[in-house]
Subunit: 243 residues, 2 copies
C-alpha cells in the first residue's frame, strides 16, 4: 500500500487530520517503548528511582489513549469516512488499547522492581543475576516485536508481520522455559518463593507485551488489507498477506 | 436514558440493525458467562470433559467477536451515524474485545483444571479443597460483576455501575489474600509448587475477568453519558454518573 494513500482527500484539512492521528499514535508508541526499556532496566539494576518514573509515566500513556481516542471519534462523526479512512480510524482506536495495556504491563514490571528490592534475599547458593539473563532476553525479543509493529503502522507495510508473529512463538517458548526454571528454584529454595514469584510475574508481563505487539500487527493488516486476521491460523495469515 | 432511544430512527431498517447489534453482543455475553461458570466447575471438580468443552467453546467466542465487529463496521460505513448511534457502535466494538478476553481467561482456567489434574498431589497435611474455598468466592464475585455489567448494557442503565466497580476492589483484596496464602503454602510444602502455581494463575485469571467487567461498565457509561471515564478517579466517576 502506498503511504500516500493517506493524503488522497481533496479536503486538505481531512488529510491533515488523518496524518495527525497516525503520528500521535506513533508518538504514544514511542513513549510506551521507552516505558518497557526503563521498566526492564529498573528491574535488572534495582533502580527504584527509574521504577518510580515508569509508574508516574503511566498517567501520560493513559491520557494519550483518551485524547487520541476522542479525536478519532470526532473525525468519525464529522467526516463520516468510509473504506481505508474508516479502517485507519478503527485500527487506531484498537491499537490505542493495546498500547495502553503494554504501558500497564511495563508499570507492573516497575512495581515488581520495587517489590523485589524490598524482599530479603535468602540464599548464598543462588546469585541474583542468574534470573535476569533470561528476562533480559525476553525483554530484547518483545521490544523488537513492538518496534517492528509500530514500524509497520508507520509505513503501512505488512511485509514484516510474519517475522514479528514468528518471534512471538519464540517468546512463548522462552517464557515457558523461565516458568519451568523458576518452579525448580522455588522447590530448591522455598524461602525465596516471594522473590521467584516476582521474576515469574515479570516474565508473564513481558509475554503479554509480545501478545499485544501481535495484536498491533493484526490492526495494521486490517487497515492495509481490509481483512480481520484475529484468531486465524498462520497459514491463513500467510495467504492474506500474499493476496 | 430511555431504552427506546435505540429506536428513534425514521429508517426502520437502521433501528433494527442497531437493536440487532446490541442483542448479539448480549448473547455473546451469555456465552462468556457460561464459559466462566463451566471453567470454574471444571477446575473445582477436576472435570476434564467440561474443561475440554470450555476450551472448544473459545472458538465460538472468537468467531462472534469477528462477526459482530464486522457488522459494526458495515453499519458505520453505510449509515455514517453520529451522536448516540456512533457511541453505541464504538462501545460495542470495545466491549467485544473485553468479552473475548474474558473468554480467553476462562479458557486459561479450563487449561489449569487439566494441568492440575495431571500434577501429582504430594501432601497428607493439606487437603485439596482448601485452596478452592477462596477461589469459589472469587468466581462468585466476578460472575456477579460481569452479569451486572451486561445488565447495564441491556438496559442502557448506569445506576448499578458504582456498586459493580466497588466489587472490583473486593476482588482485588480477595486476590491479594489468595496470593499471600499460596506463597505460604509453597514455602511450607515446596513439593507442591506446581499445583500451587496453578491455583495462583487461576486466581489471576479471575482477577482479570473482574477488570474486564469494569471496562464493560466504562463502555456503557460512554454510550449512555458520552463521557470517557477510563482511568478517572472514583470521585470523578461518581460526578459523571450524577451529572
Amino acid at each position: 500500500m502506498d503511504i500516500n494513500k493517506i493524503g488522497h482527500h481533496i479536503s486538505h484539512q481531512f488529510n491533515k487530520e488523518l496524518e495527525d492521528i497516525r503520528n500521535r499514535l506513533l508518538n504514544m508508541g514511542g513513549v510506551v517503548e521507552q516505558q518497557i526499556e526503563q521498566a526492564a532496566n529498573a528491574f535488572m539494576n534495582s533502580d527504584l528511582e527509574l521504577a518510580e518514573k515508569v509508574i508516574q509515566q503511566d498517567k501520560i500513556v493513559n491520557d494519550l489513549e483518551r485524547q487520541i481516542d476522542q479525536e478519532c471519534t470526532e473525525i468519525l462523526a464529522k467526516r463520516q469516512p468510509a473504506a481505508f479512512d474508516l479502517r485507519l480510524l478503527l485500527s487506531v482506536i484498537k491499537a490505542l488499547n493495546d498500547l495502553e495495556r503494554i504501558g500497564d504491563e511495563a508499570t507492573k514490571i516497575a512495581e515488581m522492581a520495587i517489590h523485589l528490592n524490598s524482599t530479603e534475599y535468602l540464599s548464598e547458593h543462588q546469585h541474583k543475576g542468574e534470573d535476569y539473563y533470561e528476562i533480559q532476553h525476553l525483554v530484547d525479543l518483545v521490544k523488537d516485536m513492538l518496534h517492528g509493529a509500530l514500524d509497520a503502522f508507520a509505513r503501512l507495510n505488512v511485509g514484516e508481520v510474519l517475522s514479528i508473529t514468528a518471534q512471538d512463538a519464540k517468546v512463548d517458548r522462552e517464557y515457558s522455559c523461565i516458568i519451568r526454571q523458576q518452579v525448580s528454584r522455588m522447590m530448591e529454595n522455598p524461602r525465596n518463593v516471594r522473590r521467584t514469584l516476582d521474576v515469574l510475574w515479570t516474565a508473564r508481563a513481558l509475554e503479554r507485551i509480545g501478545d499485544h505487539a501481535c495484536n498491533l500487527c493484526e490492526h495494521v493488516i486490517y487497515m492495509v488489507k481490509g481483512e480481520d486476521v484475529r484468531h486465524v491460523s498462520r497459514e491463513e495469515l500467510q495467504k492474506t498477506l500474499q493476496g
